[in-house]
Amino acid sequence: MSTIVRPDSLGGALAALAEGARPRAGGVEQAAPGAVVDLTGVADLRGIGPNADGTVRIGAMTTVAALAGLDSHPALALTAGALGTPQIRGTATVGGNLLQRTRCAYLRSPVFSCARSGGMGCPSREGDHLHGVVFDSGVCAAPHPSSLAVALLAHDARVEVVGPSGARTLPIADLYDAVDPVRDHRLSPDEILVAVTLPAGIPGDRVAHRRAAGRSRAEWPLVEAVVRLSPNPDGTVERAAVAVGAVARVPLRLPEVETALVGAVPGAPPGPEVDAALAEVVARCSPLPGSRYKVELVRATLTDVIGRALSP
């Protein structure tokens, strides 16, 4: 008989996980059979709070809609506001979004098995992978679906995790594993993602976000990009963060593009070094036959966000 446990503390939640219950946050992903630990009542998972040092802690049960109103971190807010539908944004949580299951029609289908579902290989690789990766890291060909992860990566966020052996924090990049094809993330089943911590927002940051997709709204992106440019006092770019999603098993930062953007002048078109960096990114791509178009789309999407972030 399946049951629902509703703990009001992290300790209670961890105890339920230890007994094999599955965590439930927003409930957007439909429940698998079995016992459930509903995280709604756990106080430590809630709330958005600026800390004394200017960093911002976002409880894992914070909704995507709440993030969309986060004025201190506009790159994250823009990304959150473009995700899914208004109803989904009102329900889906930060934690659930970061730890969501890979979206792949083959994985969903009862007709196929693959490395992720206990079988071998990847039928999408041999079959249809129009939405597949363009930075191939082997076996699974489905890109990571989390938009928030892309924006959080561009913000150098850290995630706070608790488990039976205590709490730890790790950079958001370390939440994911590009090589291991079987896992959606690196948490173990008895751990809980408690919160995300953002470094202090930098006033004057120039940011842009884009989902390249066919429809205007409510669509999974073919390529997603976030750019965040922090200015020097003279307005030129001091530091840049550029991240792309829907292209690899994990969200990616693009260091060559970031380096090229340092010193860029807002209001002026990006210089040739940016084009050269984009060409380097393109050269690094390793598309599958059906996702080859994404190489150009990566360049185009980055061109779009960089152009808008630098626009007067």
Binding site: T3, T85, Q87, T91, R217, L222, D304
Partner: protein
């Protein structure tokens, strides 16, 4: 802890698998909340939880504890946005409407609190309603309704009744769809489907050996595509039925399969239909009976139509050899397009002492009862088919589909009513489709720029089914120049097609209308003026002239476009056959001193209830509301099926005839009833009171000169004259990201007199929405190795939202069908045929790149433009 649902405390189930939507519907009987996609994408299940719009199909039921829930029923019916949806006709089939109005009620209230009684712009409304999809495409009315409600225009009940007779039922959630009508104690049935593309099924059994199970295999026990029904099981609850289905053991003998279009044509390909009998039994997706044609391996055809065909072919060959620049020879393809009505296929079957009762979502109540009676060997009057409201169909809900077979058989075995309802995955896999096509078109112009020869060769990609008619439809366009058109079918181990709104039409126009545009370019001629020269059709010529005077066409950009965003305008023409049902009947009965109209027809969302009511009241000169309409029951007099654009053209004249007969019968009793003209209200009241129980039946009066082709099978005749359409489409192409946005559209439709202005416009606006969906987004994708459908939810099979569709103006040319009683014919299909082609021509105009393949995905744009 209880939930407060619409003001009442109610217990909440403590289940890990129950969704709030299922609990509201099945547990509390609040069936206004609809389940359409099951994945939180379409918004039909939206309810307010503590005031926030929430998709209840994803929300775990136990999450309702301690919350305040408002469903569409809880809105009452007095919210301004509900009145606005009804008045602006922001709905067709109405299945998505409860979700839309629940969401919109919050948006409108919030907007007015923040901005006062002002009108939000369309983008703002599109943002707010981004979590809602309307497959009928009633977005023009929806946007207008939301804006008007925000502006405070519907704070009081409007004086005028809404254009749609069932609008108030649909905006309040009162309208009952077939899944809502399952009697208490109904069991649930679930279909077990093939996981192999080709296999002989040795045995099927339920894991426990006791669960009611019926086989759904063809006589040869062979499955020919992944997703083909094998059996169905039933259990008292949906969850138990799903569990039972998951444990059914199927023992297969796998057979070699072929799923690729090209692979199927290779000489050593496994044969999908190896024997003559198999070929004759191949499912058909044409609207008309499929004629016998020769087969070569997996290719059927050609079906040829020829008018001086050898001349056409000789001219084209010599032009090709000579490199004639006025020869346009090109190949175009279209993807498999899915009907995807938001209400899935559903049937509740109940064997009963009066026979067999079916609550079913069908486009043909009367014909279905005939078919069921024949298949299960029952007297026709012991079959009771009921379809109160149909949540869209577009051609997919016509005949005995597998939900009906399963429900009827399981109900007999289980000894209880059984409901079988497709999941969205089933709906998108095995509920029919508009097959993909590959079409080669060749046009040759002579020195005067006249059409000298045409040939069209088209291959339909209909999986195991046949019946492509793409080329055949091209035969009927552009005068009488020499021509040869040939239709082929390529069969594969993939799911079968069904007729879909204008079968063959959009693929035909996609190829032909772009080729005509290319010819205009080579001739250096305006595309409208070329069509005006080539096209002899009087009605369409009137539309070309009108189109040329629209701002959209006159002010279109000229010359090469530069920059990232490029605007373009394109045009496409279309025609369609005028079909009607000669056996259509409408009964008028005097009951309790009032008039009731009855017929075994159904409302697919097109608004036939209002057409019948308005026709009768106009004819008798009665005030609106003077007649009650009851349709959707097979026990009524025969009504026509709603396919082939014929409901209005068949039922409208029958209603008028019934009104005339009623007048005459009343006049026999009361001479104060005038022979013609309005009947005085007081006289009518007395005449009706004296005629209690009177019943007259009107029929479909013949057209002047009769039909072109009289009664083919199935209550179907082809009338004289064709309907026509001209679409002018504006797009904006983002050349960087490869995205096309359809921004404005002018839809000129020639279907004679319009019976119901607002509803007709709505249908034509919806056709633009579906055509834009086909042009830009919609594509059923399958695994190239097994043929398994991959786009089996509404996240991956992408239909347009409000933000994706052009602002559309509909113009009606109302002449040309004076020989038809009522003066008008159907427009459901002609209004969709040319839309995607107009998008294609607009993209070419904007970019100079000619798209060949549908849909116009970003990857194709990027590759094409660079």
């Amino acid at each position: 802890m209880d939930a407060h649902v619409n003001g009442h405390p109610t217990p909440v189930p403590d289940s890990t698998t129950a969704t709030a939507a299922a609990h509201l519907r099945d547990g509390l009987g609040l069936t206004g909340t609809k389940i359409a996609c099951g994945t939180g994408v379409c918004g039909a299940c939206t309810v307010l939880v503590d005031g926030s719009p929430t998709v209840s199909c994803l929300l775990p039921a136990d999450r309702l504890a301690g919350r305040t829930v408002t469903t569409v029923e809880g809105l009452g019916g007095d919210h301004p946005v509900q009145r606005a949806f009804a008045a602006h006709d922001g709905l067709q089939c109405g299945f998505c409407t409860p979700g839309f109005v629940v969401e919109a009620s919050v948006f409108v209230d919030t907007w007015r609190a923040e901005h006062g009684d002002t009108r939000p712009d369309r983008e703002t409304i599109a943002d707010a309603l981004a979590g809602h999809l309307c497959r009928c495409g009633a977005y023009e009315g929806i946007a207008a309704a939301v804006a008007a409600a925000c502006a405070g225009e519907f704070d009081t009940e409007p004086e005028e009744a809404p254009p749609r007779l069932d609008a108030l039922d649909k905006v309040t959630g009162r309208a009952r769809y077939s899944a809502d009508l399952a009697p208490p104690g109904s069991w649930e049935g679930v279909i077990v489907r093939s996981t192999l593309p080709h296999a002989r099924v040795r045995s099927v059994r339920a894991a426990d050996g006791r669960t009611p199970l019926v086989e759904l295999l063809p006589p040869d026990r062979t499955v020919r595509y992944v997703g083909q029904p094998i059996a169905a099981v039933a259990a008292p609850t949906p969850e138990a039925a799903r569990t039972a289905a998951a444990t059914v053991a199927v023992d297969y003998d796998p057979l070699p399969a072929v799923v690729g279009f090209d692979a199927a044509r290779s000489p050593d390909a496994p044969l999908v239909h190896p024997t003559k009998a198999d070929r004759a039994a191949a499912p058909a997706y044409g609207e008309a009976p499929t004629p016998p044609l020769p087969w070569t391996g997996n290719v059927r055809g050609p079906g040829v139509l020829s008018w001086r065909g050898p001349t056409a072919v000789a001219r084209l060959r010599s032009a090709s050899a000579a490199g004639d620049p006025l020869l346009v020879a090109e190949e175009y393809t279209t993807a498999t397009h899915l009907h995807s009505p938001l209400e899935p296929h559903v049937c509740v079957a109940h064997w009963h002492e009066d026979g067999l009762r079916l609550f079913v979502s069908t486009q043909s109540v009367s014909k279905l009862a005939d078919q069921v009676a024949s298949r299960w060997d029952l007297d026709r009057d012991r079959v009771h088919v009921v379809t109160e409201h149909v949540g869209g169909g577009f051609g997919a809900k016509n005949g005995i589909s597998s939900d009906i077979r399963a429900a009827v058989e399981l109900s007999r075995v289980a000894g209880a009513p059984v409901r079988v309802s497709f999941t969205r995955a089933e709906e998108l896999t095995d509920a029919g489709n508009r097959p993909g096509t590959r079409t080669r078109v060749a046009l040759l112009a002579d020195r005067d720029g006249d059409l000298a020869a045409m040939s069209v060769d088209s291959h339909g990609d209909g999986g195991v089914s046949v019946g492509s008619s793409t080329a055949t439809l091209a035969f009927l366009m552009y005068g009488r120049a020499p021509r040869r058109v040939r239709d082929f079918d390529v069969v594969t181990h993939r799911p079968p097609g069904l007729p879909m709104r204008g079968p063959g039409g959009p693929p035909m126009a996609w190829a032909l209308e772009q080729a005509v545009d290319e010819m205009a370019r080579r001739l250096g001629e305006d595309p409208l003026s070329l069509r005006l020269r080539w096209d002899g059709n009087v009605k369409r010529r009137a539309l070309y002239e009108r189109a040329a005077r629209t701002d959209l066409w006159r002010d279109r950009p000229r010359g090469p476009r530069t920059g990232r965003f490029r605007r373009g305008v394109g045009v496409a023409a279309a025609n369609w056959l005028y079909l009607y049902g000669p056996r259509a009947r409408v009964e008028l009965v005097v009951e309790n001193g009032a008039l009731v109209a009855r017929a075994a027809t159904q409302d697919l969302g097109t608004g036939i209830r209002a057409v019948l009511a308005d026709t009768i009241t106009d004819r008798l000169g009665l005030p609106g509301g003077g007649v009650r309409v009851e349709i959707g029951r097979s026990s009524s007099v025969h009504g026509t099926g709603s396919y082939g654009s014929r409901t209005t053209a068949s039922m409208g004249p029958a209603a008028a005839d019934a009104a005339d007969r009623l007048r005459s019968a009343l006049r026999d009793r009361d001479p104060r009833v005038p022979e013609r003209g309005p009947i005085d209200e007081h006289v009518l009241k007395e005449a009706l009171a004296a005629a209690e129980g009177l019943s007259v039946v009107g029929g479909r009066v013949r057209d002047r000169w009769g039909p072109l082709i009289p009664a083919m099978a199935d209550d179907l005749a082809i009338g004289r004259g064709m309907s026509g359409a001209v679409h002018v489409m504006e797009v904006e192409v983002d050349t960087l990201l490869g995205r096309v946005r359809a921004t404005r559209c002018w839809a000129g439709i020639a279907a004679g007199r319009i019976y119901s202005e607002r509803q007709a416009r709505n249908q034509c606006e919806g056709a633009v929405v579906q055509g834009v969906g086909q042009a830009l987004f919609e594509e059923r994708r399958h695994d190239p190795n097994t043929g398994a459908v991959l786009t089996d939810d509404l996240e991956d099979y992408r239909i347009p939202g409000l933000g994706d569709v052009p602002e559309t103006e509909v113009y009606f040319h109302r002449e040309g069908f004076e020989h038809v009683p009522g003066g008008g014919v159907g427009l459901g299909e002609v209004s969709v045929v040319g839309v995607a082609a107009a998008v294609g021509n607009a993209v070419f105009d904007a970019t100079g790149w000619r798209p060949r393949d549908l849909p116009l995905r970003p990857d194709r744009l990027i590759e094409g433009i660079r």
